[in-house]
Amino acid sequence: MTTMVQEAPVDLVRQHQVVTALRAFLPESSILFDHEDVKPYECDGLTAYRQVPMVVALPETEEQVCRILRTCHKMRVPVVARGAGTGLSGGALPLGNGVLLSLAKFMRIIEVDERARTARVQPGVRNLAISDAVAPLGLYYAPDPGSQIACSIGGNVAENSGGIHCLKYGITVHNILKLRIATIEGDILGIGADALDASGYDLLALMTGSEGMLGVVTEVTVRLLPKPEYAQVVMAAFDKIEKAGQAVADVIAAGIVPAGFEVMDQAATRAVEQLVKSGYRTDVAAVVLCEADGTREEVADDVRRVQHVMEKSGAVQTEVSRDEAQRLRFWAGRMAAFSAAGAISPDYYCMDGTIPRKRLGEVLRKITGLETKYGLRCANVFHAGDGNLHPLILYDANQPGELERTEAFGAEILELCLEVGGTITGEHGVGVEKINSMCVQFKSAELETFHRVKRAFDEHGLLNPGKAVPTLHRCAEYGRMHVHRGQEKFPDLPRF
């Protein structure tokens, strides 16, 4: 990643043309273009990248979305969709010559079908608002990203977001049934079905995680699950991070699929305990949280087994949540890990690689080595159950050179993930942030396939251009700057 904090001058003539075209069907309040009005949209959750958009459009109806897209298509103006702007890879970073299409006004839960256990919602609805709305029915929407109070369901679809309970209940793609998509040409497509599958290609899966590059989500039908009767968390402390990694593998090997399975290293627990009193031990190398859910009998059974396995794997202490309040307190710390990093350091940079679980100990050891190499601290939290790492590199953007060192550190972590057979992003998306690392993960012919898929939806490349998939030219440039470790050191290591 190359840092981009820039303000390209706005082409005022072009801006005027686009605003005039949008005024034909949008009320004045739905079009922003004054510098101070568009400034709040200059970045998403990845604040190292900023760019004010030429125009911000805030439609209120699907018809308006279609007309905006049709207009932009005709005028060849690029469009970037934006949900709540909590993305961590710069996916919603605007373009200085483009329209930022905000879905913020699409806040309605259109319909809840209690019997069929589905909810039809607009894309701007917050993730947690869905679960809150259906809680009286004993139902919930399972994927629970750490940002669930803020992020939008449209953004979740675009990123294929996960959460703490993914290992057992799946990520976004497993929990949606149907989408309405506005194409760049301004047509509406119905994708998926009220049934469990649809005829033809699985476009529902293809759209999920496509980072706003193939279409704009204007409606989502989600699946709702019955709330488990009961849940308990086992908290275990380990004096070595490798032992914590091994414990994760051992629990899975014992045939248990926990509802949530998280690990935090000492740097993370120390940061968290300063902010939230979760009761994590801060004198140990790692704390593991393992949740069991189901009927009371089932949970009691699982908890006993988990505790037993963890102790055999070398836990120095295990503790089971006594009641719901304590269970939530155990989780509160983990949920606050990012904010905690923000509290102990002026800036933090969150990585998102995923690796085979068995390489956990080794990868963490190497990350510790990189801390010394780059002279930066790193706190580690991860969705251990699915091998999804979130190293949080702590830095200070005001210190000259620190951001650059952070980025180099991050890129090296991602290449490390690839070396052990993993991926550069498990749930946060590529966006602008990891676009160079895509050159390491995929070879040219694969990247070209991605470009052809994009063209199948968006011939002129107007939807979120420059994100997610690098041009081959860019990769050639990047290749000149960096050694492709993944390809040169391990030529025959299966990358998939």
Binding site: E159, P226, P356
Partner: protein, 354 residues
């Protein structure tokens, strides 16, 4: 093994140059499924074997020609399974065929479909290029989700070489219960149960009998069995029953009438269509043995929020799969073009012009 890939790749390149259609074939157990097959047979059966299986990772990677039976046996040995319970439809059924058809068995509504378990694929596209998408890890959002797009595309986008699948532990205990009820009651119950945290892993209704399978920890299964009621079925008989549904050897699939597969919203009331029906997937799948005309069947499926497939037999010239709206069809053609510009991979197997 690379020599097999090289050979397949060469065959594809030659066929593309001459615009000669290829018919991709694993074990041939699903030849009946989809549009009429034609073209030079491209056999993937030789490219077989498990590449990597680590039970603690919950992931298996195998070559497309590997018999499903071999994979399931390897998993069973380690106390694991393919949780989407793919039907085999005969001996020699391969992993490639399973993923290309995207067919899942009775556990599907409760655990997920094939596509939900596919983590990564290695394919040869229509130009013979050897490509990998996805990976061997549980979560991966790098690049478009081509692995899931390929799943169920009936070989029209690429020749599958290798697939990585998520696997799950076998349940510790299992019980099947049988309840007597009407079709409407069965649909009502299936939906009501699904709204409660019960360890249900399969449901099926036919001829006044509703079968429910519970799987999981013994205590959970026992507690749920009490809530659900009905009569317990002996394990061997239960096994026979669910295999009959999964493999379509159950008597309700017998007879000469065409077999339709209607995938609908789970709460759809009994469909008033002539012929014999079997309901599974918590109400979301209706199998229909019927000579009813295609339009009648398809209209009923559309009204029920889904689609109808002419699964076995009947007149394939009417189109096996539910017709798509023009805008979606155009997108399908664009995607086909993106993967197989010469249009040589299984042409007509999914839709006439793909």
């Amino acid at each position: 093994m690379q020599d097999i890939i090289d050979k397949l790749s060469r065959l594809i390149r030659d066929a593309a140059a001459q615009k000669r259609p290829l018919c991709i074939r694993g074990g041939g157990t699903k030849d009946f499924y989809g549009g009429p097959v034609h073209g030079y047979k491209l056999n993937t059966g030789d490219y077989r074997g498990i590449v990597d299986y680590e039970p603690t990772e919950l992931v298996i990677t195998a070559r497309a020609g590997t018999p499903l039976a071999e994979i399931e046996a390897a998993l069973r040995q380690k106390g694991q399974m393919l949780a989407f319970e793919p039907p085999q439809f005969g001996e020699g059924s391969t992993l490639g065929g399973c993923v290309a058809t995207g067919l899942s068995g009775p556990r599907r509504p409760y655990s997920g479909a094939v596509r939900d378990f596919v983590l990564g694929v290695r394919i040869l596209d229509g130009k013979g290029d050897d490509l990998r998408f996805g990976g061997q890890v549980m979560k991966n959002v790098a690049g478009y989700d081509v692995s899931r797009l390929i799943t169920g595309s009936l070989g029209t986008l690429g020749v599958l070489l290798e697939v990585s699948l998520k696997v799950l532990p076998l349940p510790v205990s299992e019980t099947t219960l049988r309840l007597k009820c009407t079709e409407a009651e069965a649909i009502e119950r299936m939906n009501r149960w699904a709204a409660q945290p019960l360890p249900i892993t399969a449901t099926a209704y036919r001829d006044g009998d509703l079968g429910v399978r519970l799987s999981g920890a013994r205590v959970a299964v026992e507690a749920a069995a009490k809530k659900i009621g009905g009569a317990p079925v002996a394990p061997a008989q239960a096994e026979h029953f669910w295999t009959g549904i999964r493999e379509q050897t159950d008597p309700s699939f017998a007879g000469d009438a065409p077999l339709w597969r209607l995938s609908v919203k789970s709460t759809t009331p009994p469909l008033a269509l002539p012929g014999q029906q079997l309901i599974e997937w918590g109400g979301a799948l209706r199998w229909l043995k019927s000579g009813a005309d295609a339009k009648t069947v398809r209209d009923a499926a559309t009204r029920a929020g889904g689609h109808a497939t002419l699964f076995r037999g009947g007149d394939k010239t009417i189109g096996v799969f539910h017709p798509l709206p023009p805008a979606l069809m155009k997108l399908h053609r664009n995607l086909k073009q993106a993967f197989d510009p010469a249009g040589i991979l299984n042409p007509g197997r999914l839709y006439a012009d793909l």
